[in-house]
Symmetry: C2
Subunit: 253 residues, 2 copies
Protein backbone atom coordinates (compact mmCIF):
# COMPACT_ATOMS: atom_id res chain seq x y z
CA UNK A 1 0.00 0.00 0.00
CA UNK A 2 1.34 3.44 -0.94
CA UNK A 3 2.56 5.74 1.80
CA UNK A 4 2.26 9.52 1.74
CA UNK A 5 3.97 11.96 4.10
CA UNK A 6 1.92 15.09 4.91
CA UNK A 7 3.25 18.33 6.36
CA UNK A 8 0.32 18.84 8.72
CA UNK A 9 -0.04 17.37 12.20
CA UNK A 10 -2.63 14.69 12.77
CA UNK A 11 -5.88 15.68 14.41
CA UNK A 12 -8.99 13.51 14.25
CA UNK A 13 -11.16 14.68 11.32
CA UNK A 14 -14.12 13.31 9.42
CA UNK A 15 -12.23 13.79 6.19
CA UNK A 16 -8.66 14.52 5.09
CA UNK A 17 -7.82 16.52 1.99
CA UNK A 18 -4.61 15.82 0.15
CA UNK A 19 -3.31 18.39 -2.36
CA UNK A 20 -0.07 19.15 -4.19
CA UNK A 21 2.50 16.47 -4.92
CA UNK A 22 0.81 13.55 -3.11
CA UNK A 23 -2.43 14.48 -4.96
CA UNK A 24 -0.55 14.32 -8.23
CA UNK A 25 1.01 10.98 -7.33
CA UNK A 26 -2.28 9.38 -6.25
CA UNK A 27 -4.35 10.59 -9.17
CA UNK A 28 -1.96 10.92 -12.11
CA UNK A 29 0.77 8.38 -11.36
CA UNK A 30 -1.09 5.66 -9.47
CA UNK A 31 -4.50 6.41 -11.10
CA UNK A 32 -6.24 5.74 -7.82
CA UNK A 33 -10.03 5.84 -7.55
CA UNK A 34 -12.51 6.05 -4.65
CA UNK A 35 -12.29 2.92 -2.50
CA UNK A 36 -8.49 2.64 -2.82
CA UNK A 37 -6.56 2.72 0.46
CA UNK A 38 -3.25 4.38 1.34
CA UNK A 39 -1.18 5.19 4.42
CA UNK A 40 -1.16 8.86 5.45
CA UNK A 41 1.79 9.79 7.66
CA UNK A 42 1.42 13.09 9.54
CA UNK A 43 4.16 15.44 10.73
CA UNK A 44 3.56 14.46 14.36
CA UNK A 45 4.41 10.81 13.50
CA UNK A 46 0.85 9.51 13.58
CA UNK A 47 0.07 7.27 10.62
CA UNK A 48 -3.32 6.02 9.52
CA UNK A 49 -4.85 3.77 6.92
CA UNK A 50 -7.16 6.00 4.86
CA UNK A 51 -9.65 5.26 2.09
CA UNK A 52 -10.29 7.58 -0.83
CA UNK A 53 -13.85 8.87 -0.64
CA UNK A 54 -13.72 11.31 -3.52
CA UNK A 55 -11.42 13.08 -5.98
CA UNK A 56 -11.82 16.69 -7.16
CA UNK A 57 -9.81 18.81 -9.61
CA UNK A 58 -7.23 19.64 -6.95
CA UNK A 59 -7.72 17.41 -3.91
CA UNK A 60 -8.14 13.79 -2.90
CA UNK A 61 -10.58 13.33 -0.01
CA UNK A 62 -9.94 10.45 2.34
CA UNK A 63 -11.51 9.01 5.48
CA UNK A 64 -9.59 7.31 8.27
CA UNK A 65 -10.09 3.54 8.49
CA UNK A 66 -7.73 2.84 11.38
CA UNK A 67 -4.49 3.92 13.02
CA UNK A 68 -1.40 2.11 11.87
CA UNK A 69 -0.68 -0.27 14.72
CA UNK A 70 2.95 -1.24 14.46
CA UNK A 71 5.77 0.94 15.77
CA UNK A 72 8.15 1.47 12.85
CA UNK A 73 10.68 3.79 14.47
CA UNK A 74 13.73 2.81 16.48
CA UNK A 75 13.24 3.61 20.20
CA UNK A 76 16.32 5.87 20.06
CA UNK A 77 16.98 8.63 17.51
CA UNK A 78 20.27 7.82 15.77
CA UNK A 79 21.87 10.52 13.60
CA UNK A 80 24.59 9.38 11.21
CA UNK A 81 27.41 11.92 10.75
CA UNK A 82 29.72 11.18 7.82
CA UNK A 83 32.97 12.92 6.98
CA UNK A 84 32.36 13.63 3.28
CA UNK A 85 33.23 10.45 1.38
CA UNK A 86 34.08 10.23 -2.32
CA UNK A 87 31.65 9.92 -5.22
CA UNK A 88 28.02 9.11 -4.52
CA UNK A 89 28.62 7.08 -1.35
CA UNK A 90 26.56 9.58 0.64
CA UNK A 91 23.58 8.66 -1.54
CA UNK A 92 23.98 5.02 -0.53
CA UNK A 93 24.44 5.93 3.15
CA UNK A 94 21.24 8.02 3.15
CA UNK A 95 19.16 5.51 1.20
CA UNK A 96 20.14 2.40 3.18
CA UNK A 97 20.48 4.32 6.46
CA UNK A 98 16.89 5.50 6.09
CA UNK A 99 15.66 1.95 5.53
CA UNK A 100 17.62 0.87 8.60
CA UNK A 101 15.97 3.52 10.78
CA UNK A 102 18.29 6.55 11.03
CA UNK A 103 16.67 9.73 12.42
CA UNK A 104 18.95 12.06 10.48
CA UNK A 105 22.13 12.51 8.50
CA UNK A 106 24.89 15.10 8.84
CA UNK A 107 27.71 15.53 6.33
CA UNK A 108 30.85 17.45 7.27
CA UNK A 109 34.29 18.09 5.73
CA UNK A 110 36.65 15.89 7.75
CA UNK A 111 40.42 16.35 7.70
CA UNK A 112 40.97 13.51 5.24
CA UNK A 113 37.91 14.24 3.06
CA UNK A 114 39.06 14.47 -0.55
CA UNK A 115 35.98 16.20 -1.97
CA UNK A 116 35.60 19.94 -1.51
CA UNK A 117 32.03 21.15 -1.95
CA UNK A 118 31.14 24.86 -1.91
CA UNK A 119 27.86 26.34 -0.68
CA UNK A 120 26.01 26.07 -3.98
CA UNK A 121 27.08 22.48 -4.54
CA UNK A 122 26.18 21.60 -0.94
CA UNK A 123 22.68 23.06 -1.26
CA UNK A 124 22.05 21.08 -4.45
CA UNK A 125 23.46 17.91 -2.93
CA UNK A 126 21.36 18.36 0.21
CA UNK A 127 18.18 18.66 -1.87
CA UNK A 128 19.07 15.47 -3.72
CA UNK A 129 19.72 13.59 -0.46
CA UNK A 130 16.47 14.84 1.06
CA UNK A 131 14.63 13.35 -1.89
CA UNK A 132 16.47 10.04 -1.50
CA UNK A 133 15.58 10.00 2.23
CA UNK A 134 11.93 10.78 1.47
CA UNK A 135 11.64 7.97 -1.09
CA UNK A 136 13.42 5.46 1.14
CA UNK A 137 11.18 6.46 4.08
CA UNK A 138 8.08 5.78 2.01
CA UNK A 139 9.40 2.51 0.65
CA UNK A 140 10.49 1.18 4.05
CA UNK A 141 7.24 2.23 5.80
CA UNK A 142 8.85 4.77 8.12
CA UNK A 143 6.74 7.14 10.23
CA UNK A 144 9.36 9.90 9.97
CA UNK A 145 11.47 11.19 7.11
CA UNK A 146 15.07 11.61 8.32
CA UNK A 147 16.59 15.09 8.25
CA UNK A 148 19.65 15.87 6.12
CA UNK A 149 22.16 18.64 6.89
CA UNK A 150 25.33 19.15 4.87
CA UNK A 151 27.76 21.42 6.72
CA UNK A 152 30.49 23.53 5.17
CA UNK A 153 32.96 23.37 8.06
CA UNK A 154 34.03 20.91 10.71
CA UNK A 155 33.81 23.71 13.27
CA UNK A 156 30.06 24.04 12.69
CA UNK A 157 29.78 20.30 13.14
CA UNK A 158 31.62 20.34 16.44
CA UNK A 159 29.35 23.14 17.70
CA UNK A 160 26.35 20.88 17.13
CA UNK A 161 27.66 18.01 19.24
CA UNK A 162 25.99 19.38 22.38
CA UNK A 163 22.57 18.65 20.88
CA UNK A 164 23.00 14.93 21.47
CA UNK A 165 22.67 12.78 24.58
CA UNK A 166 25.36 10.40 23.47
CA UNK A 167 28.13 10.38 20.87
CA UNK A 168 29.57 7.22 19.35
CA UNK A 169 32.78 7.45 17.32
CA UNK A 170 33.33 4.62 14.84
CA UNK A 171 37.09 4.45 15.02
CA UNK A 172 39.03 1.99 12.90
CA UNK A 173 41.88 1.91 15.40
CA UNK A 174 39.43 0.62 18.03
CA UNK A 175 38.48 -2.21 15.68
CA UNK A 176 42.13 -2.98 14.93
CA UNK A 177 42.98 -3.11 18.61
CA UNK A 178 40.19 -5.60 19.12
CA UNK A 179 37.86 -3.28 21.05
CA UNK A 180 34.54 -5.06 20.78
CA UNK A 181 32.36 -4.44 23.78
CA UNK A 182 31.81 -0.67 23.97
CA UNK A 183 28.95 -0.56 21.45
CA UNK A 184 27.20 -3.50 23.11
CA UNK A 185 27.45 -1.77 26.49
CA UNK A 186 26.01 1.45 25.08
CA UNK A 187 23.12 -0.23 23.30
CA UNK A 188 22.27 -2.42 26.28
CA UNK A 189 21.96 0.53 28.64
CA UNK A 190 20.69 3.38 26.45
CA UNK A 191 17.37 4.93 27.48
CA UNK A 192 14.44 5.06 25.06
CA UNK A 193 14.14 8.47 23.47
CA UNK A 194 17.90 9.19 23.62
CA UNK A 195 19.43 11.21 20.80
CA UNK A 196 22.57 9.38 19.66
CA UNK A 197 25.08 10.79 17.21
CA UNK A 198 27.29 8.25 15.44
CA UNK A 199 30.37 9.73 13.72
CA UNK A 200 32.09 8.03 10.77
CA UNK A 201 35.25 9.17 9.02
CA UNK A 202 35.75 9.33 5.25
CA UNK A 203 37.86 6.74 3.34
CA UNK A 204 41.06 8.01 4.98
CA UNK A 205 39.53 7.66 8.44
CA UNK A 206 39.37 10.15 11.29
CA UNK A 207 42.67 11.65 12.45
CA UNK A 208 43.74 11.16 16.09
CA UNK A 209 43.23 14.93 16.57
CA UNK A 210 39.65 14.70 15.34
CA UNK A 211 38.93 11.73 17.58
CA UNK A 212 40.35 13.71 20.51
CA UNK A 213 38.05 16.65 19.75
CA UNK A 214 34.99 14.40 19.54
CA UNK A 215 36.03 12.68 22.78
CA UNK A 216 36.39 16.04 24.49
CA UNK A 217 32.74 16.61 23.55
CA UNK A 218 31.80 13.32 25.22
CA UNK A 219 32.27 10.95 22.32
CA UNK A 220 33.08 7.27 22.95
CA UNK A 221 35.26 5.39 20.43
CA UNK A 222 33.70 2.07 19.45
CA UNK A 223 34.80 -0.86 17.34
CA UNK A 224 32.25 -2.41 14.99
CA UNK A 225 33.48 -5.98 15.04
CA UNK A 226 36.83 -7.42 13.94
CA UNK A 227 36.57 -6.75 10.20
CA UNK A 228 37.50 -3.40 8.67
CA UNK A 229 34.34 -1.86 7.21
CA UNK A 230 34.28 0.70 4.41
CA UNK A 231 33.10 4.19 5.33
CA UNK A 232 29.66 3.60 3.79
CA UNK A 233 29.22 0.11 5.30
CA UNK A 234 29.95 1.02 8.93
CA UNK A 235 26.69 3.01 9.43
CA UNK A 236 24.67 0.00 8.20
CA UNK A 237 26.35 -2.16 10.84
CA UNK A 238 25.65 0.32 13.62
CA UNK A 239 21.98 0.85 12.70
CA UNK A 240 21.37 -2.90 12.25
CA UNK A 241 23.01 -3.66 15.60
CA UNK A 242 20.83 -1.00 17.27
CA UNK A 243 17.69 -2.46 15.73
CA UNK A 244 18.70 -5.99 16.71
CA UNK A 245 19.42 -4.99 20.32
CA UNK A 246 16.49 -2.60 20.82
CA UNK A 247 13.76 -4.08 18.62
CA UNK A 248 14.49 -7.81 18.37
CA UNK A 249 16.38 -8.81 21.54
CA UNK A 250 14.32 -6.60 23.86
CA UNK A 251 11.15 -8.29 22.65
CA UNK A 252 12.42 -11.85 22.79
CA UNK A 253 13.89 -11.59 26.30
Amino acid sequence: MQRYFLEEDYTAKEQYEVVGEPYHHMVRVMRMTPGNQVYLVFANQVSIVAEISGITESAVCLVEKEKEQQEKELPVAITIASGYPKGDKLDLIVQKGTELGAAGFIGFPAKTSVVKWDGKKLAKKQQRLEKIAQEAAEQSHRQVTPTVALLDSEKTFIQQLTQFDMIVIAYEESAKQGEVSQLAQILQTVKAGSRILAIFGPEGGLTPAEVEQFMAAGGQPCGLGPRILRTETAPFYLLSAASYQLELLKVSN
Copy 2:
Protein backbone atom coordinates in the same frame (compact mmCIF):
# COMPACT_ATOMS: atom_id res chain seq x y z
CA MET B 1 49.39 -3.30 5.54
CA GLN B 2 48.62 -5.13 2.28
CA ARG B 3 46.94 -8.50 2.44
CA TYR B 4 47.57 -11.35 -0.01
CA PHE B 5 45.53 -14.54 -0.33
CA LEU B 6 47.59 -17.60 -1.32
CA GLU B 7 46.24 -20.84 -2.73
CA GLU B 8 48.55 -23.09 -0.69
CA ASP B 9 47.94 -24.29 2.85
CA TYR B 10 50.11 -22.91 5.65
CA THR B 11 52.96 -25.06 6.92
CA ALA B 12 55.83 -23.64 8.95
CA LYS B 13 58.73 -22.83 6.60
CA GLU B 14 61.95 -20.87 6.80
CA GLN B 15 60.93 -18.91 3.74
CA TYR B 16 57.77 -18.39 1.66
CA GLU B 17 57.87 -17.78 -2.09
CA VAL B 18 55.15 -15.74 -3.68
CA VAL B 19 54.71 -15.87 -7.48
CA GLY B 20 52.08 -14.91 -10.08
CA GLU B 21 49.53 -12.19 -9.40
CA PRO B 22 50.52 -11.34 -5.79
CA TYR B 23 54.16 -11.15 -6.98
CA HIS B 24 53.11 -8.70 -9.66
CA HIS B 25 51.10 -6.61 -7.18
CA MET B 26 53.91 -6.47 -4.57
CA VAL B 27 56.72 -5.67 -6.99
CA ARG B 28 55.14 -3.76 -9.88
CA VAL B 29 52.11 -2.08 -8.32
CA MET B 30 53.23 -1.44 -4.73
CA ARG B 31 56.97 -1.30 -5.60
CA MET B 32 57.82 -3.11 -2.37
CA THR B 33 61.41 -3.74 -1.38
CA PRO B 34 63.14 -6.05 1.14
CA GLY B 35 62.14 -5.08 4.67
CA ASN B 36 58.51 -4.28 3.75
CA GLN B 37 55.86 -6.30 5.61
CA VAL B 38 52.60 -7.80 4.37
CA TYR B 39 49.92 -10.20 5.56
CA LEU B 40 49.94 -13.61 3.88
CA VAL B 41 46.64 -15.46 4.17
CA PHE B 42 46.82 -19.18 3.42
CA ALA B 43 44.08 -21.46 2.07
CA ASN B 44 43.70 -23.16 5.46
CA GLN B 45 42.78 -19.80 7.07
CA VAL B 46 46.10 -19.22 8.80
CA SER B 47 47.37 -15.68 8.34
CA ILE B 48 50.84 -14.38 9.18
CA VAL B 49 52.76 -11.14 9.16
CA ALA B 50 55.67 -11.70 6.74
CA GLU B 51 58.68 -9.58 5.82
CA ILE B 52 60.19 -9.48 2.35
CA SER B 53 63.72 -10.93 2.48
CA GLY B 54 64.48 -10.86 -1.23
CA ILE B 55 62.99 -10.33 -4.69
CA THR B 56 63.97 -12.31 -7.79
CA GLU B 57 62.79 -12.08 -11.44
CA SER B 58 59.72 -14.20 -10.69
CA ALA B 59 59.29 -14.58 -6.93
CA VAL B 60 59.12 -12.57 -3.72
CA CYS B 61 60.78 -14.36 -0.77
CA LEU B 62 59.34 -13.67 2.67
CA VAL B 63 59.97 -14.79 6.23
CA GLU B 64 57.32 -15.16 8.91
CA LYS B 65 57.44 -12.52 11.66
CA GLU B 66 54.37 -13.64 13.64
CA LYS B 67 50.94 -15.20 13.32
CA GLU B 68 48.05 -12.77 12.98
CA GLN B 69 46.44 -12.80 16.41
CA GLN B 70 42.91 -11.52 16.03
CA GLU B 71 40.07 -13.74 14.89
CA LYS B 72 38.49 -12.00 11.89
CA GLU B 73 35.87 -14.57 10.94
CA LEU B 74 32.33 -14.88 12.29
CA PRO B 75 32.02 -17.93 14.58
CA VAL B 76 29.27 -19.27 12.28
CA ALA B 77 29.47 -19.63 8.50
CA ILE B 78 26.62 -17.60 6.98
CA THR B 79 25.83 -18.07 3.30
CA ILE B 80 23.66 -15.40 1.68
CA ALA B 81 21.25 -16.75 -0.97
CA SER B 82 19.64 -14.09 -3.14
CA GLY B 83 16.86 -14.58 -5.65
CA TYR B 84 18.36 -12.74 -8.63
CA PRO B 85 17.69 -9.02 -8.14
CA LYS B 86 17.72 -6.37 -10.86
CA GLY B 87 20.73 -4.46 -12.18
CA ASP B 88 24.00 -4.64 -10.29
CA LYS B 89 22.50 -5.13 -6.83
CA LEU B 90 24.24 -8.49 -6.54
CA ASP B 91 27.57 -6.63 -6.81
CA LEU B 92 26.62 -4.52 -3.79
CA ILE B 93 25.39 -7.57 -1.84
CA VAL B 94 28.67 -9.42 -2.46
CA GLN B 95 30.93 -6.44 -1.72
CA LYS B 96 29.23 -5.32 1.49
CA GLY B 97 28.30 -8.85 2.52
CA THR B 98 31.97 -9.83 2.32
CA GLU B 99 32.97 -6.89 4.52
CA LEU B 100 30.26 -7.91 6.97
CA GLY B 101 31.57 -11.47 7.23
CA ALA B 102 29.54 -13.72 4.87
CA ALA B 103 31.06 -17.15 4.18
CA GLY B 104 29.52 -17.45 0.73
CA PHE B 105 26.94 -16.21 -1.74
CA ILE B 106 24.43 -18.14 -3.84
CA GLY B 107 22.30 -16.57 -6.56
CA PHE B 108 19.24 -18.37 -7.90
CA PRO B 109 16.33 -17.52 -10.23
CA ALA B 110 13.38 -16.96 -7.88
CA LYS B 111 9.78 -16.95 -9.10
CA THR B 112 9.57 -13.16 -9.17
CA SER B 113 13.11 -12.55 -10.49
CA VAL B 114 12.86 -10.27 -13.51
CA VAL B 115 16.33 -10.93 -14.94
CA LYS B 116 16.91 -14.08 -16.96
CA TRP B 117 20.58 -15.03 -17.24
CA ASP B 118 21.74 -17.94 -19.42
CA GLY B 119 24.76 -20.15 -18.73
CA LYS B 120 27.29 -17.95 -20.52
CA LYS B 121 26.09 -14.78 -18.83
CA LEU B 122 26.04 -16.53 -15.44
CA ALA B 123 29.64 -17.75 -15.81
CA LYS B 124 30.81 -14.24 -16.66
CA LYS B 125 28.83 -12.72 -13.82
CA GLN B 126 30.15 -15.28 -11.35
CA GLN B 127 33.75 -14.44 -12.32
CA ARG B 128 33.05 -10.76 -11.77
CA LEU B 129 31.47 -11.39 -8.35
CA GLU B 130 34.38 -13.62 -7.31
CA LYS B 131 36.73 -10.74 -8.04
CA ILE B 132 34.56 -8.34 -6.02
CA ALA B 133 34.54 -10.82 -3.10
CA GLN B 134 38.32 -11.22 -3.30
CA GLU B 135 38.95 -7.47 -3.23
CA ALA B 136 36.49 -6.88 -0.39
CA ALA B 137 38.05 -9.74 1.59
CA GLU B 138 41.49 -8.15 1.27
CA GLN B 139 40.22 -4.70 2.13
CA SER B 140 38.25 -5.82 5.19
CA HIS B 141 41.08 -8.05 6.51
CA ARG B 142 39.20 -11.32 6.16
CA GLN B 143 40.96 -14.66 6.62
CA VAL B 144 38.76 -16.34 4.01
CA THR B 145 37.48 -15.25 0.61
CA PRO B 146 33.75 -16.04 0.38
CA THR B 147 32.59 -18.48 -2.29
CA VAL B 148 30.20 -17.40 -5.05
CA ALA B 149 27.83 -19.76 -6.89
CA LEU B 150 25.29 -18.56 -9.43
CA LEU B 151 22.72 -21.25 -10.15
CA ASP B 152 20.61 -21.59 -13.28
CA SER B 153 17.53 -23.13 -11.67
CA GLU B 154 15.64 -22.90 -8.40
CA LYS B 155 15.49 -26.72 -8.36
CA THR B 156 19.29 -26.92 -8.10
CA PHE B 157 19.14 -24.40 -5.27
CA ILE B 158 16.58 -26.44 -3.34
CA GLN B 159 18.73 -29.57 -3.74
CA GLN B 160 21.57 -27.76 -1.96
CA LEU B 161 19.54 -26.86 1.13
CA THR B 162 20.54 -30.10 2.86
CA GLN B 163 24.16 -28.89 3.06
CA PHE B 164 23.28 -26.43 5.83
CA ASP B 165 22.67 -26.88 9.54
CA MET B 166 20.11 -24.11 9.68
CA ILE B 167 18.05 -22.15 7.15
CA VAL B 168 16.73 -18.65 7.79
CA ILE B 169 14.11 -17.23 5.42
CA ALA B 170 13.92 -13.42 5.34
CA TYR B 171 10.22 -13.07 4.71
CA GLU B 172 8.61 -9.67 4.32
CA GLU B 173 5.26 -10.98 5.50
CA SER B 174 6.87 -11.95 8.81
CA ALA B 175 8.10 -8.38 9.20
CA LYS B 176 4.67 -6.98 8.30
CA GLN B 177 2.98 -9.22 10.83
CA GLY B 178 5.33 -7.93 13.50
CA GLU B 179 7.37 -11.10 13.92
CA VAL B 180 10.49 -9.88 15.67
CA SER B 181 11.93 -12.52 17.93
CA GLN B 182 12.76 -15.51 15.73
CA LEU B 183 16.14 -14.20 14.51
CA ALA B 184 17.18 -13.25 18.05
CA GLN B 185 16.30 -16.74 19.28
CA ILE B 186 18.30 -18.36 16.51
CA LEU B 187 21.40 -16.19 17.00
CA GLN B 188 21.31 -16.58 20.78
CA THR B 189 21.31 -20.36 20.61
CA VAL B 190 23.32 -21.18 17.48
CA LYS B 191 26.43 -23.32 17.98
CA ALA B 192 29.84 -22.09 16.86
CA GLY B 193 30.80 -23.62 13.54
CA SER B 194 27.20 -23.96 12.31
CA ARG B 195 26.55 -23.50 8.61
CA ILE B 196 23.63 -21.12 8.26
CA LEU B 197 21.88 -20.34 4.97
CA ALA B 198 19.93 -17.07 4.83
CA ILE B 199 17.49 -16.80 1.91
CA PHE B 200 16.38 -13.44 0.48
CA GLY B 201 13.83 -12.88 -2.27
CA PRO B 202 14.24 -10.48 -5.21
CA GLU B 203 12.41 -7.12 -5.38
CA GLY B 204 9.06 -8.85 -5.80
CA GLY B 205 9.68 -10.98 -2.71
CA LEU B 206 9.41 -14.72 -2.25
CA THR B 207 6.08 -16.31 -3.15
CA PRO B 208 4.13 -18.22 -0.48
CA ALA B 209 4.84 -21.41 -2.48
CA GLU B 210 8.58 -20.75 -2.36
CA VAL B 211 8.48 -20.05 1.36
CA GLU B 212 6.58 -23.32 1.84
CA GLN B 213 9.24 -25.24 -0.08
CA PHE B 214 12.05 -23.70 1.96
CA MET B 215 10.15 -24.41 5.18
CA ALA B 216 9.67 -28.03 4.11
CA ALA B 217 13.49 -28.19 3.95
CA GLY B 218 13.71 -26.88 7.51
CA GLY B 219 13.72 -23.13 6.85
CA GLN B 220 12.49 -20.72 9.52
CA PRO B 221 10.80 -17.46 8.41
CA CYS B 222 12.23 -14.46 10.25
CA GLY B 223 11.41 -10.78 10.37
CA LEU B 224 14.30 -8.32 10.29
CA GLY B 225 12.78 -5.54 12.36
CA PRO B 226 9.67 -3.44 11.72
CA ARG B 227 10.88 -1.54 8.65
CA ILE B 228 10.61 -2.98 5.16
CA LEU B 229 14.16 -3.46 3.83
CA ARG B 230 15.09 -3.55 0.17
CA THR B 231 16.33 -6.87 -1.17
CA GLU B 232 19.98 -5.75 -1.08
CA THR B 233 19.73 -4.15 2.38
CA ALA B 234 18.25 -7.14 4.22
CA PRO B 235 21.47 -9.26 4.06
CA PHE B 236 23.45 -6.36 5.61
CA TYR B 237 21.01 -6.32 8.53
CA LEU B 238 21.26 -10.06 9.07
CA LEU B 239 25.06 -10.19 8.93
CA SER B 240 25.44 -7.13 11.20
CA ALA B 241 22.99 -8.60 13.72
CA ALA B 242 24.94 -11.89 13.70
CA SER B 243 28.23 -10.06 14.29
CA TYR B 244 26.70 -7.96 17.07
CA GLN B 245 25.24 -11.01 18.83
CA LEU B 246 28.18 -13.39 18.31
CA GLU B 247 31.21 -11.08 18.35
CA LEU B 248 30.22 -8.04 20.44
CA LEU B 249 27.55 -9.18 22.92
CA LYS B 250 29.16 -12.55 23.61
CA VAL B 251 32.38 -10.78 24.61
CA SER B 252 30.81 -8.10 26.74
CA ASN B 253 28.59 -10.43 28.76
